[in-house]
Amino acid sequence: MTAANTSGRLSTFAAAMVIARRDFTAILFSRSFIFFLLGPLFPVIVAALAGGIGQKVQENTAQPQLGIVMQAADAAAMIKAHDALAGRMGGNLPDFIVVKRLAPGERFDPAEALKGRNANLAAIASGTPAAPVLTGPPGRIEAWAGPVSIVAAQALGRGPQAYPDVRLAGTATSKADQRSDHVKTAQAGQMLLFLLTMLLAGMVLSNLVEEKGNKIIEILAAAIPMDAVFLGKLFAMLAVSLVGIAVWALAGGAASLLAGSAMPDLTQPAVGWPLFFVLGVLYFSMAYLLLGSVYLAIGSMAATVREVQTLSMPATMLQLLVFFLASYAMTQPGSPAELVALIIPFSSPYAMLARAAQDGALWPHAATLAWQVLWVVIFVRIGARLFRTRVMQSGPAGGKPQRRGLMARFRSARA
């Protein structure tokens, strides 16, 4: 048996698949993947616990009250007027509490009352219903001046004697409401895309660190082009991420169904839910591959795990910036800001997912996906070149990490 009839030259794609298959199965069947899948549940549990505690605290915290310090008849009239209006004014009307019923000619300092033991007393209404005086912190009394005026008018009998019922003639939506609802969907989509990308792209980095630790990288580099190693690693991690997302989506969907509402409070995106999900997966893949290739390139320049973490920080910060840009662009459809967000490869996936929620046209997605694929190829090539130059720079004898600046490393990689 000769080598010629059993093994042959691998194409870059076939070589990438050898790497991807190894990485994918190694990660998928590892115990750490179970923890990885369970990972996002911990913040959810913590958030739920924190929310429950917060609600309990809120329940136990009484609402701020307005104290009434007036002569007995005036105080009674104010309370009566408050009760009459409370149902119609809802949350705009604070609770009223009589602090003191004054005898005729009796004087009282409202500021002193506010220093008293009633912690919920936020302001004092004194004087008479005809000339009420509000005493309290400026922000509070400005907010309550209007409601107190209405209550005082009611107490004086100057308010309307009857309140006509308003007939409600609802429409499905207005243009403004529709846009507002689509923005909410776009925001939710962008946020989810960003969180998933940031959570999952870091895996590429840890995988590379493992590879460097195993010292297997030289065997890979000798056998197949570094582009294939790079692509294989990226696609394996992408596949692992998609498995993770599928599991989380199923778990989330099941939980939502059990809770009685599968898609709470989100308006159907302009392209429709099925296409929105498809585009979401595609844009996640693009965002992941772009960020992943940057992380891989960073990993190649770092000599230690600590250096990897330090060097990846600017990329993470940059990712935050592009997310903010895409978020801003979402609120300015058709503006130069949106165009910039669409063109910059790193913000393009976020901006385009938001656009899918707001605009039903499909051709821009085809165009920007092609644009993003082009940048993925460029970044993979640059990253692979950096990787090849940096990882294989010296032999074991000279293998001590060299203490040089990042720019010097980048320059030498370009040379």
Binding site: T6, R9, A26, A222, I224
Partner: protein, 326 residues
């Protein structure tokens, strides 16, 4: 490259070349690691790259494998200028051994084969067979992390060979092996060569190169002052004559060359250009009373000293395991 070409020997065998490098140069951050190296490795040869640590051996091998590209010069591996195009016909064992710790032994062999284009199923079958053949069949299902260091090294070596390459490149293959395993590896290299496989290995241990190699390249400071047959390297130094005589002095002493020196009862000197016969005649006629006379051919170590210089030889001695063990 003129400097290096001066010492280069053309392939003595006249066989086609498995590797041909002309003036390859590699610089890292302005430092020249490999400086215009010429190599000609005939097919089926056992070829050693001999030099101290830091001489440029690993960088040279990495350029030949296509892991890194030379900044200058050309290389041709199995007839291809881009080594990755013939990766399926090459096996490589790097100095720093590495395998995935969670992989089973036979899977690790199959994976290295798959990187070289061998179908995974065939690689797994061959992996099991190779482990069996080398007395490691019981460890086929064990994870690499469960193997001893020596066993893991053997698994990696088998992975290097699983796709039956035409050219095998070992970077410091003997480092980290005990004497028993060094012997096994030497036998394996000879077996490969007997089957027609070209074997190239780098080493800083002269004894291995001297025992195994048909040809060597001596590398020091990134340059190759000599590349060619081991015999040619040894012939760079004149044979040494060791003479023991009854008489300490006499007119016969004038027949000895200028470099003759006495150490104890013996006189040592290079064999004169005129050969041994005129010297013998002078010794007999001068009644020196010859007790013993031997002509010793120079070893590869002496050749290395003569070719690469004292400093490189001292570095080589420093790196050798015998020296490190002291």
């Amino acid at each position: 490259m003129a400097g290096n070409a001066a010492g280069s020997g053309a392939p003595s065998s006249g066989r086609p070349l498995a590797i041909e490098a002309r003036g390859i140069v590699k610089r890292f951050d302005g430092v020249t690691a490999v400086d215009g190296v010429d190599l000609s490795v005939p097919e089926g040869a056992i070829y050693g790259i001999l030099g101290p640590n830091g001489a440029g051996k690993t960088t040279t091998l990495r350029m030949l494998l296509g892991i890194i590209d030379p900044d200058e010069g050309v290389r041709r591996v199995l007839g291809h200028e881009r080594p990755h195009e013939v990766a399926h016909a090459i096996g490589y064992l790097p100095e720093e051994r590495g395998l995935y710790p969670a992989m089973k032994a036979y899977e690790a062999i199959a994976f290295v084969g798959a990187l070289r284009g061998l179908p995974l199923a065939e690689g797994r079958r061959r992996g099991r067979a190779l482990l069996e053949e080398h007395g490691l069949g019981y460890a086929a299902e064990r994870q690499i992390r469960q193997l001893s260091k020596g066993m893991a090294q053997q698994v990696q070596l088998l992975g290097t060979l699983v796709h039956e390459p035409r050219l095998v490149i070992f970077d410091e293959p003997f480092s980290g092996l005990d004497a028993l395993n060094q012997g096994k590896l030497e036998r394996m290299i000879r077996t490969l060569a007997a089957k027609g496989t070209t074997v190239i290995f780098s080493t800083h241990v002269i004894a291995h190169a001297e025992r195994l190699c048909d040809e060597v390249a001596i590398i020091a400071g990134g340059k190759v002052p000599f590349a060619g047959a081991v015999d040619v390297a040894r012939d760079r130094i004149r044979p040494q004559v060791r003479l023991e005589t009854r008489a300490q002095n006499g007119p016969w002493r004038q027949a000895l060359p200028d470099d003759a020196r006495r150490e104890g009862n013996f006189l040592y000197f290079s064999l004169p250009d005129s050969g041994i016969e005129p010297l013998l005649r002078a010794l007999i006629e001068g009644e020196a009373g010859i007790l013993s006379l031997s002509i010793e051919r120079a070893g590869l170590h002496d050749a290395f000293v003569a070719i690469a210089g004292e400093a490189a030889a001292k570095a080589l001695e420093r790196d050798s395991p015998e020296e490190q063990g002291r």
